[in-house]
Assembly symmetry: C2
DNA sequence: TCCACTTTCGTACACTGTACTGTAGCGTCT
DNA sequence: AGACGCTACAGTACAGTGTACGAAAGTGGA
């Protein structure tokens, strides 16, 4: 009927891109645990073993996912004001990692960086170098900025839901168990900050970012 | 002969602590993927299903592991100089996470913090508060510091080996593929910084940490 | 017509976490 | 003394995982 026949040459039905795209959707919908070869094949409308024609193994799918995620982060443009570029990049990266929280844990074990990942790093390095940073300063600044971004995303991902207002409702029952007074400072920060109705942890990102950007500066003698 | 009989009351052979301890060793030895219920049972010298008397499910084991890791981080002491205490804590945390890199990815999905984790957070909060930070300042400072620590550990874990000198040897073959000139700045930083024989990424941790500690300060008007 | 190549898939295997059930030995109570 | 129950451990079985191996169906070219 519709598609091509069972095992045919000519126009293939699948493609590596289609596989990775669907894998991304599955991971976004149900976390990385929901991404199995079988569930992926089914959601594509094919059979498990068919995927292995486009992908060597699951690890390669995960590599591809990480590269897809990096591709979503807005690329800085060298030549412009480095500080503003880094600010844009940082906010974009945080937002992307909030949409794909499962990607953070994947970073720990990835070995082979994809082309989009390399392109992104190259553009960021270029912006810093052409902004006046020496090679060594660039390495340190980049490490500092990315550490902060990844770490913040990691903490944000660990939060119960992180979607607007439910913060207070989620934290309340947990806090009741601390009425014993064992953890006074935890209770203090929970009640006076975290559980405030309009509190959103995501807003704290800007504070740390600005503090870092303010302290960073190119050149000058050692 | 030696141990107690098969299914006896009285002195039990296993314990929750023993299970978690062995699980930690297994994870350290072969990564989190090497930690299966069956491999864990075998390394303890018991049978898979016996573990479930002390632990509800594998998730609870992972929760316990994270708590064990937190317990290894040196606890700051309130009342002393907050900056020095935070410095000690940060370096300790990084060192612990370098020994247990699999724990970083676990942080993303943990829901229930263990008692050691809570104790650690309480002590850190106490140090900042008694160091003169307001509640809001404490929240922000803590978020900033931990983001940097976790993020740095995450990046360090993603590195090929990170064990002294092999940095240059590992990076060299990868870099050869970039002789095309597609990624000039990546090549520059790789050859002039990362692949230098005495370069150790871990040393960069102190730079970012000091920059952050320098910029942090309690009180003062807004 | 026939071959070779591309693309898809069926079967099978070793492995995972764990629900359910069984049972051996001990302490306690009557 | 006898019975009970509770603690600690384990056997079996099941649905799920990634994937090695090989078969097969269709297309394009000779």
């Amino acid at each position: 009927m519709t598609g091509a026949a069972k095992g045919a040459a000519g126009r293939p039905e699948l493609s590596r891109g289609k596989v990775l795209q669907k894998a991304l959707e599955l991971a976004d919908a149900g976390g990385i645990a929901a991404l199995s070869i079988r569930s992926l094949a089914q959601s594509i409308g094919t059979k498990p073993m068919s995927l292995y024609y486009y992908v060597a193994n699951k690890e390669e799918i995960l590599d591809g996912l990480v590269d897809l995620v990096f591709a979503e982060i807005s690329t800085p443009q060298a030549g412009s004001e480095w500080k503003e570029q880094m600010r844009r990049r940082a906010h974009s990266a945080r937002e992307v990692l909030r949409r794909h929280p499962w990607a953070i844990g994947l970073l720990e074990s990835r070995k082979a960086p994809g082309p989009e990942t390399l392109k992104h790093h190259e553009a960021t390095l270029a912006t810093l170098r052409e902004g006046g940073f020496t090679v060594e300063q660039t390495a340190r600044a980049y490490s500092l900025l990315d550490s902060y971004i990844y770490g913040f995303a990691l903490q944000e991902a660990g939060l119960p839901i992180s979607g607007g207002e439910p913060m207070a409702q989620v934290a309340a029952p947990i806090m009741e168990r601390f009425a014993t007074g064992e953890y006074p400072y935890l209770v203090e920060i929970a009640t006076q900050v975290v559980m405030q109705p309009d509190y959103d942890y995501g807003n704290e990102f800007g504070y740390g970012l600005e503090l870092i950007l303010e302290a960073l500066q190119p050149a000058s003698a050692a």
